[in-house]
Each structure stands twice: as structure tokens, then as C-alpha cells.
Point group: C3
Chain length 443, copies 3
């Protein structure tokens, strides 16, 4: 029966809260887009038919994906209706009518066992099954009211103090016949992005049966860009042992500790240290005196002399050079000049806030560095304050202390330092230096 | 006879010139307050009774001390009379009358042999004995005029060109009966902090016999905060061999040269180098690629990646991270962000001046870094100019060039950099980077 | 016959375009001035008589040279006539009349084989022989029009699009009788610095025979200061194997790769890495965690902790300390504070321009760092932008972002940062740090 279920993969969202990162369905981890992991998890458990709802903006990414991963049998439909999850499902209406379906968020990450166990739980008479997750802290999701294993209400993004429970819905929903859902979706009106949940809520009230499937393992999602860190961490924690490509060259004076994945033709030079779990993509160079700790580094990067990267995500083709990069997320093709720093801790050591669509959001992270879009260049001795985001194709000049987000395609530089040039009345005597040199050279 | 002498320990001064450091009697070196060393030196030579004159401000520190070091038999008296050394002695009047006494500065440091030899020199008919030290450069102290082993005059802090000799008094004075001294102290009036010396001077004129005990060994004192460096240096020079706690973990790729003390549970990571004489307190972590040279580091510190600390004093619980700290003094609980630097040399390489109570003082040091009070936070890429002092509980923001002292409890930050944001007309071509990468990766 | 030829060495130019470097004839490479190499190349092929045309400004340098290198038989004549190459030759008129001569640029560098082959090519009836070099890109030189091995025209510094050929004259010219040349030089008038070439051009038109001697090997010249890099590179490429003085001390934990010259009493400390071809002058200290790559370092330098020097020229007696110095040229007696950086790459990665005598010149280099005159001091955390030049005896303060040339004898500093000091409303809780420390220390 399982192999008859169609998996409807939602990949048409606009990712605006994910800025300056882009296209979360295609966000690459360990060299493959999240969509790949989403499909693999399902295929492994016997799901063979995939319908991907995409957007105009990621059409070419999807085509590329389909070519790169021919093992998946993929149909696709563009999301014409922009109204969030409801719009996505409605855009797929003709292709899903009359089929048993999973509706699956493409960028959410969970353990393989969830798919396995949920499928086992589907009975012939199951009308709908929704995965519920008990959250410790408030997250902006759909909150469920549950009675005896049945979901009685769902409310999308309630105010923090109005959440009816601490169980939220993971976007992994089963319907034995989506026709009913489609009808409700067509009827509901809302100005907010909650039509899907309002439709479900009305269905629940009207007696349609939603079973709860509780899940307690890892759940990663990419609403805000810093969520990348938790998801990458989950992937890193999955590395077992030291997987080092035969073509990789690791100097005997370098140190590698803990579980690592080190790709083809990687070079790790003298006095560098890698602390696992860490992933280093193909052809990346880890230079002299460099430290990489608990991070994912993409392919074709050059991590130059005396840089430190800790608990961070770095895309492909990035160049660093005596930088500190802590708890940061860096997209592809980024360069940083010597001495540039992504600060990751406030002076008062309190949790870091970030601005999303002009609203200040609490990240709940005491340590959070910069979030840097693709093709960015950061000048020497620049300081990027914790949680600051830089849009793609932007440049930050030398010596800038950047304390708020920088839009994409901008050049921010110290216009004219308030410096003074006067005649130098000081002369340098040889004596101090001669004496200092003598001391240094004496045994 | 010796064991009948009462040692009156002066620990009630206000330490204002010691700012931003505090409570010099309790200033910790190698994990113990200076007061401990002061008492130990005396006890070792048979002195068993201690009377500590303390102040309201350090009452709790003293109580803690008494609890921690029960080996000393301590009486205490609060200094009610604020008039410096005279006030201290007068506050103790009732407890010292009729006893032979030493009057001892709690924060002065000298060799054990001084105590030993001085005690041997006391005769039954010795009225008073004062330790005199021949200084090379002017120090702000009490200058002695000596004739045939007897001190004929004492003058406190004369102008630099009016010092009658180059012999100054170390505060280690013996009186066979302090009653006479007390009487003089009660009579002398002065608006300056020199009543004690004026009283002695009058006693000398009146024929009271003060023997000089000349001393030529090490003498350390803490008038100004940078004096810490000389005193710590003396302690460091006393380290013999390599004393490494069994619980300490030192990576085989770390390097340790010269005499060191390395405490319990210390960890020293790969490519770190310690150059002795150096002291590393318990549980401190010396991170990768770190250099520590001729310094005292307190307990529970984390000296992060690629930091360099040279000829410096660092208190407990400090966190560094790719910093340069040269010839500096850092109190407890200080953090510095990556790239922050305590500069220790003027561009013109001349001796460094410092401001004390709004007067500019010549430190006579060509190399002197920052002097940082407790609980200070210094942001990434900040530059603290040579000799600059930062009061406790203050924050210095990222990218600040701090060229004058910062009061305590302040937050100093770059208000708004004069930077400009415009559209980025530059685009980054792949070709340069591709070619550079090709060169790097070619054999 | 060869040993009868007089080599007239032109060393009287004013080097103004070479600023902030000075006296290019005496510019030292590998511990010896370029003049030494010029004379050695000739002497090796049998030339024994040298006439050096010098200037008032380098008279003492020349005297010192003559004393230091007695192996050369040197006559000298001061250049009284300031009119460039013509003035130099005319200043030597009396001493060269009636002799066969080479006229040789003292600071040009080429392979020994050029001298050897050119001399073989001189016949008894050769009137003049000029070395021609085929350039790939435009250089500001004398362009030759050649027909059947004879030079028919020469034009000095034509506009870039008006060069008649891509063959330029290397200043290595033979005349069997300079009398004719002298006559032409005396007749030609020009407001530009091209009298010599105009004289030759007229001689060519009048039928005097100039043979071309084509040369395809290395040709280095020092018109602009960045030309030093190409010339030094040629010297570095000549190092074969690892030449390490017996008195040099190289720690077993340091790494040396590729061809190097390491001078007397050099010390190379732990975790340092030298990548050849590299030259390290006598008594220089390469400190801990330092990287030197493909560079020439002078004598008596101290390259302090965690500095990186790549593809650069460094004079004698320079002190560095956690600096990045890439593709840069640094004269003698320069110091840089910790964190100071000579940036070598524009954010847009395009070729770097430089200002010469107030004209913007394209250097054609994508990577070019700072060019720093002698006795310069650069403060901590300063950033010198790519291609910026700093005149001798100047100071650059801490935290300066220097984006244009600084004249000599100046002090440039951040006048007053626009920073704000307010009461610190933040307090630092112990909890964050305690938890972070606990994590770090847990296994």
C-alpha cells in the first residue's frame, strides 16, 4: 500500500524570513540540498512517487536537481497560488485528487525512524495523521489541542502566551483522500498565512478524524537563517569515525580529533587542527595554524593562515585569512580579509536579537555570529557584530564595525576617518630597538 | 624575645593610586593575597602575634583571610582615623602600648633574608630600627638622612630634585616602645599625608635613636598599578624547575620551556608554547597556537586560540581569544573579544606616561600595556593604547581605539562610524579566484 | 679587446618615481646593493674598468660601496648635468672620449648570459649595439623600430597606443666611439627627459649603425617601487636547495619547505613555517607560529608571533608582530604593531592602481600590498589599503584605515573617534561563563 502513497513536497515558499540565505529547500548540507535528504528519507521507506510544488524562483534549481538525482521519480507543479501552504496544496489539486498523500515540508529535517514508524501507523481507515512535536520553548508553528490521541484543534502561530499546548505540527501530514482537504482550503478566507491550519481546524470541528503521531527525536526547520546551525549540527552529529578520502593530504604536523568527514583532494597543512564533528568538502585547503571546530566547510574553500572557525556553516568556494568565524553562517563565494571578525558574543553575554522583516526577533542564542549571503567581500580588520546579516553581492570595507544588517548589493565603507595628519615631531632612536634586540638574542 | 614582638600590619589604606586595581593588601599573586606572604615571612622568623589594621572596605576580605589561613594568630582593629599611616598606628594605640612592635606595610615585598637579618640586629637597647633602601631612580617615599648608622632626618615625598639622599624607608619599622611614637603622632598636624614621617622627623631631632638597617635585595611595592609587574616578576623569578601538577594535561605538541608552575587540571593544547618563568593557575586552559611568556595567569582562565600574553599579570576567570596582551595587568573576570589588543609600546618608543588622580605620571617603562579592572569586557578588534587604565565593570565596544583612561562602570563604544552605504557597482568575477585557487592547488 | 671596454654605470638618477623607496642603484637585495650585481655580471665576463656616474645624493653610498667592494676598479664622476641619461653621459664626457664603452643602467637586472652573449657579438666594426627586449604589456621605455637586425628609429615613452613595436631598449648599450654620441647629445634640445633617445634617433636617421641584440630572458627594472617585487622574485628563483648557515638555530618543530637561504645566527622558533624560495638575512628571528612564504627578509629583523609574510620584500632591522604582510615592500627599520595589516587585494579583486607624482598609474597587479619607507611605525590594528605608499620617518596611529599615500615625516592618527561613553547599564552574570567553562572542561 505504502508504495501507492504520493509524497507532495512543498518547495514553493518564498524564504523571505531566511534572508540573506536563499531557497531553503535547496540549501546545501554536506554537498547535497535538503530536498535530497527529504526525498531519500521517504524513498528508503518505500515511497516512490514525488510531486514537488516549486516556485518560479527555484524552477532552474529544481530542474538541476532532477537531472542530478535521477533515482527519484519526480513530477513537478509550479505553485501559482501564492497563499502559503494552502496555495501550494491547491496548486497541486488536480494531481493529488483521489490519491493517498503525504504533505511534506521540504526543508524540515528529522530522523529516518520518524518516517518508518509513521508509515507503520497508517491503517486503512486512517483519515489523517499529523506528526506532533513537544517543544520546550515557543516556536512560531501550528499548535495542537489533543484529546485521547485525536487532534481537536490547531491554531497557527498563536501569541507566545496563548499557545493552547506545547505540541506543534511538523509538516509531515497524511491524508487518505485529500479531496475533503481541498474543499475546505477553497472555502476558507484569511488575511494571514494560516488558511491551511484554519481549514484543518474547521475539519476537526466538523468531525474529520486527525490522528496524532507523537515524535520526540530531532526536528530541524529553517524558518530563520540561524536555524541552519541546529540542522547542520544534527548532520555533524551523525558523522561516525574519521572518514578521510584517500586523495586528501594531511600533514603529519596537523591534528585531527574526533569524528570527521574529509573530502577528496582536501589539504590540511602544518599546525592546523580539526576538532570533530566536522565536515570538510572536496578540494578545500585548511591552511597553516588554522583551527576548525565542530563546523561544516563546503568544497573548494581556502581557510588561510591562522583562521579559526567554530560551530559554523561555510558554503562552497569561500576564502578566509586570519579570521575568526564563530557560530556563523556563510553562503557560497564569500571572502574575508585578514583580521576581519564575525563576533559571536555580546559584551553583556545575553541572548542575541536579530531583525527579520523589520521586526526584532529574539534568537535565544547567547552565541551567534554573522549571517553572510553569497558573493560577499569583507575587508581587513572589519568587525561584524553578533547576529548581523549581510545581503548577497555586498562589500564591507576595511575597518568597518557593522552593527546592523546590510542590504544586498551594497558597499559599506568608512567614508573618511576623522584622522589627522601632522608633521611628525618624533624621531625614532636606535637605542631602544638595539637593546631590545640584544635581549631577545641573548641566550 | 622575638616571639614577644607584635607585628602591626598596615592594611587599611585606600589604594586610590592603585586604581583600577583594588585592595593592594589582598592583591593575589600565585593564588594567595600579598598579606599572606607578608605574614608568612614574619612567622617563619618567629613572629607569632599579628595585629592587622584594616578598613571598612576590606573587612570582609580580612575575615575571609582569617578563615582561610588559621595558621596565623591574628587580632584586628579597624582604622577609624583616616590620616594615612599615622591614622593606622593611632587606631591601634590601645593594643600596642607597652609592647615591642614591628610596623609593617602589608603589600611591600622583600626577600625573607631581610626579616631574618633585621631581627638578629635588634638589641635590648635598640629604640627603633628602620629599613633603608638605596634607590636608583626617584620613588615617591620617605627619604632618610643618615649619619654613622643613625637616621637624623626623614622627609616624605620631597620634590624629585630636593631628595636629601637616595635612601628611602621600607615600611618595616621596629619600636621597643611605641608609646613615644604615639605621643608624637597625636601632636603633629599636617594637611598632607605625612604625619607619620613628620612625627619621626621630630623624634629624631629630639634625640630619639633610629638605627638604620640597610637592605639591598629585592623590594617591591604597589603604589601605582604598574608596580604589580615588578612584584610579580620577583615571584616568577623564584620558580625553580618545572612544577607541573599530575592532573594537568599537556599535549605532546605543546612546548614548555624554562621554569614553570602549572596548576591542577590545567590543559595546554596543541601548538601552544609556554616560556618560563611562568605561572598557570588551576583549571586554566591554554588553547591552540597560544603563546604565554614570562607571565602569571590566574585560575579558571581560558586563553583562546592564537593569543599571546607576554610579561603580564592576569587574574582569575579571564577569557581571551586571539588577543595580544603585553606588559599588562588584568584583574579577575575580564573578557576580550577576538583581535582586541593591549598595545604596549609607543610608536616613538619613549617611556609611557599614565594619569593618576588627574596628574600625569612618568612610569619610566618603555613597554607598558593596559591595566584592566575586574569584570571588564573588551570588544573585538579594539585597541587599548599603552598605559591606559579601564575601571571595573566597564565595557569597551568593538573597534574602539581607547587612548585615555575609562572610568569604572562605563560603556564606551563607537557611536556611529562615519561610514557610507551605497550601491555596489562592483561585481566579482570568478576568474581571479579560479586562477588563484588553481595556483594554490597545483603542486 | 673586451678588457679594454669601459663600463659607464649610470647611477645618478633621482629615483623620484621610486618613492618612498630611495636610491635604486643601491637598493639592497640579499644583503648587497643592485650596483654590486651590475658590476659583478660585467666583471665575470672580463670587463675590468668601471666609471660610475653618481649624484650628490648618493655620494656617500658610493664611497661606502667602493670601500666595501675593493674587487672592482672604479672611477667615479658626479652627474652635474641633471638632464637624465643624456646628462649622465655628458657628465662623463671627458673620461669616455676615445674609449669603447658600455653604457649600463645600474639598477636593471638580467641574466648573466646576456652579458656573455652580447660581448661575443661585438665585432671590430660594430659601431653600436643595443639590447632589445620584446615586452608583452606596455612599459614606459624606449621603443625600437628594427629592420634586418638594424635599429632604424627609437622613440622614448610613446603613448600606449602609439608604440611602433613591442621591442624596448634595455639600458645596456655598446659604442665603439662615444664621440659621435656626445656630439649629438650636445646638439639635441628637449623639454622632456628624452634627449638621449632623440640623439640616438637622429644618429639612426643620419646613418650611424645601431645593431640590435635581441634578448628574451629575465629583465628587471625599478621604475616604480612595485617593480622591486619582480626583481626580488628573480633573485629568489635563483636559490637552489636549502642553504642554512651552521650558526642558524631551527627548532625541530619548525617547518622549512623548498629552496631557502638562511643566514648566520638566524633563529626559527616552534611552529614557524618557511616556504621557499625564501631568503632570511643574518640574525633575523622568525618567531613562533610565523609563516614566511616566497619572500626576502633582511638582516636583524624580528618577525614576531603569528605574523604572515608572503611574496614580499623586507629590509633590515624590521619588527613585526601578528601582522599580515602580503605582496608588500618594506624598507629598513620599520615596525608594525600587533594586528596591523598591509592589505593586498581589493574587494572587487581588480588590478591595483597607485599614484606616482600625482598621476594615477595602473600597476597591472591584482595583488599588491603596502610600500613602506624606512623608519616607519605602524600602530596596532591599522589597515593599510592595497598599493598605498608611506614615506620614510612617518608614523601611522592605531586603528587607522589608510587609503591614500602618506608623505614622509608625517604622523597620521585617528584624531578623536566618534565614540560615546555612557553609564554601563549591563551587568555581567556569572552563569553564562560558568556554563561555558563547564562545557569546555568536560571531556
Amino acid at each position: 500500500m505504502i508504495n501507492k502513497i504520493l509524497a507532495v513536497i512543498l518547495a514553493g515558499g518564498d524564504s523571505s524570513r531566511f534572508w540573506p540565505l536563499e531557497q531553503k529547500s535547496f540549501f546545501p548540507i554536506f554537498g547535497k540540498p535538503l530536498l535530497y535528504y527529504c526525498l531519500s528519507r521517504l524513498k528508503k521507506e518505500g515511497i516512490n512517487d514525488f510531486l514537488i510544488v516549486y516556485s518560479d524562483k527555484n524552477a532552474s534549481l529544481l530542474n538541476e536537481f532532477i537531472t542530478s538525482y535521477p533515482q527519484f521519480h519526480i513530477e513537478k507543479v509550479v505553485q501559482k497560488d501564492p497563499r502559503g501552504m494552502a496555495g501550494a496544496v491547491l496548486s497541486a489539486a488536480e494531481l493529488i485528487s483521489g490519491r493517498k498523500v503525504f504533505i511534506v515540508g521540504s526543508e524540515e529535517v528529522y530522523e529516518d525512524s520518524l518516517v518508518h514508524n509513521l508509515i507503520k501507523n497508517i491503517q486503512n481507515d486512517t483519515q489523517s495523521l499529523i506528526v506532533g512535536y513537544e517543544v520546550r520553548d515557543y516556536v512560531p508553528g501550528g499548535y495542537l489541542t489533543v484529546e485521547k490521541g485525536l487532534i481537536k484543534r490547531i491554531i497557527e502561530k498563536p501569541a507566545r502566551d496563548k499557545a493552547p499546548s506545547n505540541t506543534v505540527s511538523i509538516v509531515f501530514h497524511y491524508y487518505n483522500d485529500p479531496k475533503v482537504l481541498l474543499n475546505y482550503l477553497r472555502k476558507i478566507k484569511s488575511k494571514k498565512d494560516d488558511i491551511y491550519e484554519k481549514a484543518l481546524d474547521q475539519m476537526m470541528k466538523d468531525g474529520y478524524r486527525f490522528n496524532l503521531f507523537p515524535y520526540k527525536g530531532f526536528w530541524g526547520y529553517l524558518k530563520y537563517p540561524w536555524h541552519v546551525l541546529d540542522t547542520v549540527n544534527y548532520f555533524l552529529d551523525g558523522i561516525r569515525g574519521q572518514n578521510i578520502a584517500k586523495s586528501a593530504k594531511i600533514d603529519t604536523r596537523a591534528t585531527i580529533k574526533g569524528p570527521v568527514f574529509i573530502g577528496e583532494d582536501v589539504r590540511i597543512l602544518e599546525y592546523a587542527k580539526i576538532v570533530g564533528p566536522t565536515y570538510i568538502g572536496d578540494r578545500t585547503i585548511v591552511g597553516n595554524n588554522v583551527m576548525v571546530r565542530k563546523s561544516m566547510i563546503g568544497a573548494n574553500c581556502v581557510i588561510g593562515f591562522a583562521s579559526e572557525i567554530g560551530r559554523s556553516y561555510v558554503g562552497d568556494n569561500c576564502w578566509f585569512h586570519t579570521n575568526y568565524i564563530g557560530d556563523s553562517i556563510i553562503a557560497d563565494n564569500v571572502s574575508m580579509g585578514a583580521g576581519a571578525i564575525l563576533a559571536n558574543l555580546r559584551l553583556d553575554e545575553t541572548p542575541i536579537k536579530s531583525s527579520i522583516n523589520e521586526k526584532i526577533i529574539q534568537t535565544n542564542k547567547n552565541k551567534l555570529g554573522g549571517i553572510v549571503g553569497s558573493n560577499v567581500r569583507i575587508g581587513v580588520n572589519s568587525s561584524i557584530m553578533p547576529g548581523v546579516k549581510i545581503g548577497k553581492n555586498s562589500f564591507v570595507g576595511a575597518g568597518v564595525v557593522l552593527d546592523s544588517d546590510l542590504d544586498q548589493g551594497k558597499f559599506c565603507f568608512v567614508k573618511k576617518q576623522n584622522y589627522m595628519i601632522k608633521n611628525n615631531k618624533f624621531s625614532v632612536s636606535d637605542s631602544f630597538r638595539r637593546e631590545a634586540g640584544r635581549k631577545l638574542r641573548s641566550p
